[in-house]
């Protein structure tokens, strides 16, 4: 039973989780961490993780992600090859490849990290920009690298850069911005969706901020400041006045008190639970931390991932898996590889095409992932992934995977999958039902295991992570 969220003590909530005999640090909890901080982990990775403490791991995850975020994106030759086709849909497959193949272990060689990709996906939904309208894979890639670069860094720097990002400006119709008719679209989203949230600004503030952006244009896919079209007059935004330019205007917004709360709330919803909305007293400590660390995201994420609340019953199994978490997660956990264009198309059908968010608000998440069509689509997609000709597990097949992990017997197999894939364990009856599925299934061993996993992932409990 979930606790009453309103009754949770904020001090306890964000203090470091210390495993105990009632709640020992084990593979199932480590799997929970990896599902939330990334896209799951293989059995071998879980074995390594249970040897360290949750706090050490949270710290290492954030450090690895930070290091990976500073690597030179030019070296990503897979991305360059995808860009050569000029198609943003291929770019989606590239990103999925990255999510699927990022190791948790980090180290010098790792240029990617699951947490970094997860956060990049978070920011992609936050600063949502759709490739359909931008219609240029190169620009989408540039924006994606921008988000990755700042994912754990300074939110202010990220917002300043995104304000000059050609893909964003095209998406929000701000390619031309004349002083006579300043375009309010971007100014509105900076306040409403990116930084403050509704109720923390007035229409007048939007109009004034829009004036700061006058003269900001996109020409030939690049940002350009046209000084002849800039309104040099005095603007008054959120109580501050001055002859602000765009950067100064954004700074005024970044200095608002409402901002750390707005971002902290969104991070809680992304990493901790979908519903209910976190009460103020739970948001405030993270907001304070964000302010103290001068809007750096890394410390807040680390605090969340190491916290009591994160490992509590209010959190475990209290999020609806997003399509990417579902599809990439399943493959990632079972050491799987498959045709990623197929995965990208499948994810689109069930409501999450990366690089193609539905609108400027990004994906709503939570219950909106679920309806008749997406539930059937989820089951069909997993069925297809499990049985597709290009799909391999542990470089081979499911039988080999089970063998490698020493779980050939049906009961062991079910228990092993349950621990890896489910947030809240199945009860005895359900497990018996699953054992029955694998034992009465037809075909060879791999086909029977595929049927088991297909059934498991169609059961309602599976959609909660």
């Amino acid at each position: 039973m979930p606790q009453d969220i309103g009754a949770i003590d904020p001090n306890w909530a964000w203090s470091t989780f210390k495993p105990s005999t009632e709640q020992p640090w084990n593979r199932r909890l480590a799997a929970h961490l990896c599902r939330r901080a990334g896209f799951g982990a293989t059995s071998r990775e879980l074995n390594d993780l249970v040897k360290q403490s949750p706090a050490e791991i949270a710290h290492a995850f954030v450090e690895n992600a930070k290091q990976a975020s500073q690597r030179d994106p030019e070296t990503d030759s897979l991305a360059t090859a995808m860009l050569a086709t000029g198609n943003s849909q291929n770019l989606a497959a590239w990103w999925l490849h990255r999510m699927l193949n990022s190791p948790w272990s980090g180290g010098e060689a790792a240029s990617t990290s699951p947490l970094l990709e997860k956060l990049t996906l978070f920011w992609h939904g936050h600063f949502a920009t759709g490739a359909e309208k931008v219609d240029d894979a190169e620009m989408m890639f540039t924006q994606n690298q921008l988000l990755r670069h700042h994912a754990l860094g300074n939110f202010g720097a990220m917002t300043q850069e995104i304000s000059r990002d050609p893909a964003m400006l095209i998406y929000l119709d701000s390619t031309t911005n004349r002083k006579a008719h300043p375009n309010e679209n971007y100014a509105r989203e900076v306040m409403e969706l990116f930084c403050l949230g509704e109720g923390n600004y007035t229409e007048g503030d939007i109009q004034e901020l829009a004036r700061c952006f006058s003269g900001w244009e996109v020409r030939r896919k690049k940002f350009r400041f046209n000084k002849y079209q800039h309104d040099t007059g005095v603007k008054t935004i959120l109580g501050k006045s001055g002859k602000f330019g765009g950067e100064e205007g954004v700074n005024v917004v970044l200095n608002q008190k409402a901002l750390p709360r707005f971002i902290a709330r969104k991070l809680i919803r992304f990493f901790v639970f979908d519903e209910p909305a976190a009460p103020e007293q739970l948001v405030e400590p993270l907001a304070r931390l964000l302010r103290q660390s001068e809007l750096r995201i890394g410390p807040v994420v680390e605090r969340i991932l190491a916290s009591n609340l994160f490992y509590s019953q209010s959190t475990v199994g209290r999020k609806v898996r997003s399509p990417v978490e579902l599809g990439i997660g399943l493959l990632r956990c079972l050491h799987g590889s498959t045709n990623l264009e197929l995965v990208a198309r499948g994810l689109e059908e069930i409501g999450q095409a990366v690089f193609y968010p539905p609108n400027v608000k990004g994906w709503d998440g939570g219950r909106t992932w679920i309806n008749t069509s997406t539930l059937l689509g989820r089951s069909n997609l997993i069925g297809q992934l499990l049985r597709h000709e290009t799909t391999r597990f542990a470089g081979n097949n499911l039988e080999m995977l089970a063998q490698q992990n020493g779980v050939s017997a049906s009961d062991k197999l079910v228990a092993w999958l349950d621990e890896q894939l489910l947030a809240v364990p199945f009860d005895g009856t359900a497990r018996a039902g699953l054992i029955d599925v694998v034992e009465t299934a037809t075909g060879n061993k791999s086909q029977r295991i595929a049927e088991l996993i297909h059934t498991m992932s169609t059961v309602p409990q599976f959609h909660l992570a």
Partner: protein, 406 residues
């Protein structure tokens, strides 16, 4: 009314129910009850004719000299026309429309358009979709706004479905509701070993009892999804259309819509398109083929719905972004025009011609003038068919058109 038990027998098979005994999962029972409730909400099916359908050759004023003179090669001859009355007749290829009219299931609203008509395909289509001109912000469409105004708390079925490969029509866009574009029925059906899978899922997924609201939501959604899948599977397996649909693209799309309606989905808006009406040259054979496709598909669809008992609750509307110029051009084709007729098909239409045929002598830039604003047609559908207040959706109050039975 179906009992819980018989519902379960239909959807998951007798064996499962027997083996489940008394421990029938609650989530499935809830879905069962929901699915067994009578479904009598009205449904709107939009058929968009892209490219600008030649209204003057669809409903032809075959007696008028001005018509014959303006169209020396293209005019529908009075001997060929399928007579609506002594002065107007359908194009000879539109036999399906003619038969629908004889059955009192077709309403022809004449002279529909808007002031200062725009003759660009994209611009004019956007105006029809959003009810707004270029100068206004156009991020949502009229049907999208309708969907937003009518969100129920937890709709498990999709509020609207666009069926087809083309880009989703702007009419369905809204701020908060995402309408899926569906290419085939597979989106609503479990693919692999569906029966075995849903039986197993039912057995396993229902046994964890929980006071968890979020889990409860996913459980009841899963129940609805499995039941929809079973119904669609049953429907497509031995779906007996009341008529053999023609082998055309539009007819097959409408057949799919009929199956979805018959499967008990709660979706109220379906949207399909037929492209190719931009007949600038050699119009005669191309336009005949298009009208054959349109009228054959519409007739089959309406007949089929009646066979399955949905005839009274489905209304189909067809429209195009504009009509075509009265005078034919030098390539035996016609150029972009303005006003044109809109068709409503279904059991509860007011059959026959609604409003006058636009005058062929009182032209504006060579085109017939509109007398009925397309927003009036929308208002009629919103107010009288879908049962919502049209003014907020259309951005003003528009008088309705007497095209539906009162």
């Amino acid at each position: 009314m179906t009992t819980r038990r018989s519902f379960l027998t239909q959807t998951i098979g007798t064996s499962a129910v027997v083996s489940l005994g008394a421990a029938v999962p609650e989530f499935l029972l809830q879905a069962g009850v929901a699915a067994s409730q009578p479904n009598d909400e009205t449904i709107l099916v939009m058929v968009q004719l892209s490219g600008g359908n030649d209204g003057l050759n669809t409903v032809a004023p075959f007696t008028q000299n001005a018509y014959r003179k303006a169209r020396p090669t293209l005019a529908v001859q009075s001997s060929d026309a399928l007579k609506i009355d002594s002065s107007y007749g359908f194009h000879p290829a539109a036999q399906g429309l003619s038969r629908l009219l004889e059955e009192n299931r077709l309403s022809i609203i004449q002279g529909v358009g808007y002031a200062n008509p725009n003759r660009s395909h994209f611009e004019s289509m956007d105006i029809w979709h959003t009810c707004r001109r270029k100068t206004a912000v156009r991020t949502d469409g009229w049907l999208g706004r309708y969907l937003e105004a009518n969100q129920s708390g937890q709709a498990l079925d999709l509020p609207a479905i666009h069926l087809g490969h083309e880009k989703q029509p702007l009419a369905l866009s809204s701020q908060s509701i995402r309408v899926p574009s569906v290419k085939s029925l597979d989106r609503f059906r479990l693919k692999d070993q569906s029966k075995k899978l849903s039986e197993a899922v039912t057995r396993i997924g229902g046994t964890t009892s929980s006071g968890d609201d979020l889990l409860g939501f996913v459980q009841s959604s899963t129940g609805s999804a499995l039941s929809a899948s079973q119904q669609i599977e049953a429907a497509s397996g031995n779906y007996k259309p009341g008529i053999t649909y023609p082998d055309s693209g539009l007819a097959q799309k409408l057949k799919t819509v009929a199956q979805l309606i018959d499967s008990g989905l709660k979706t109220r808006i379906y949207y399909v398109t037929l492209d190719g009406f931009d007949t600038h040259s050699r119009q005669a054979p191309a336009h005949a083929a298009l009208l054959r496709e349109l009228s054959g598909a519409l007739e089959s669809f309406v007949t089929d719905l009646n066979e399955h008992g949905h005839g009274d609750r489905v209304l189909t509307m067809s429209f195009s972004e504009f009509g075509r110029r009265l005078k034919e051009n030098a390539s035996e084709g016609t150029d972009h025009g303005a006003a044109a007729p809109v068709f409503l098909a279904g059991n509860r239409v007011a059959p026959g011609l609604i409003g006058k045929h636009p005058s062929l002598t009182d032209l504006q830039d060579g085109d017939v003038k509109f007398h009925t604003n397309f927003r009036q047609v929308y208002a009629t559908i919103l107010d009288k068919w879908l049962g919502v207040e049209s003014a907020p959706i259309l951005g003003g109050k528009f008088a309705s058109v007497p095209a539906l039975q009162s």
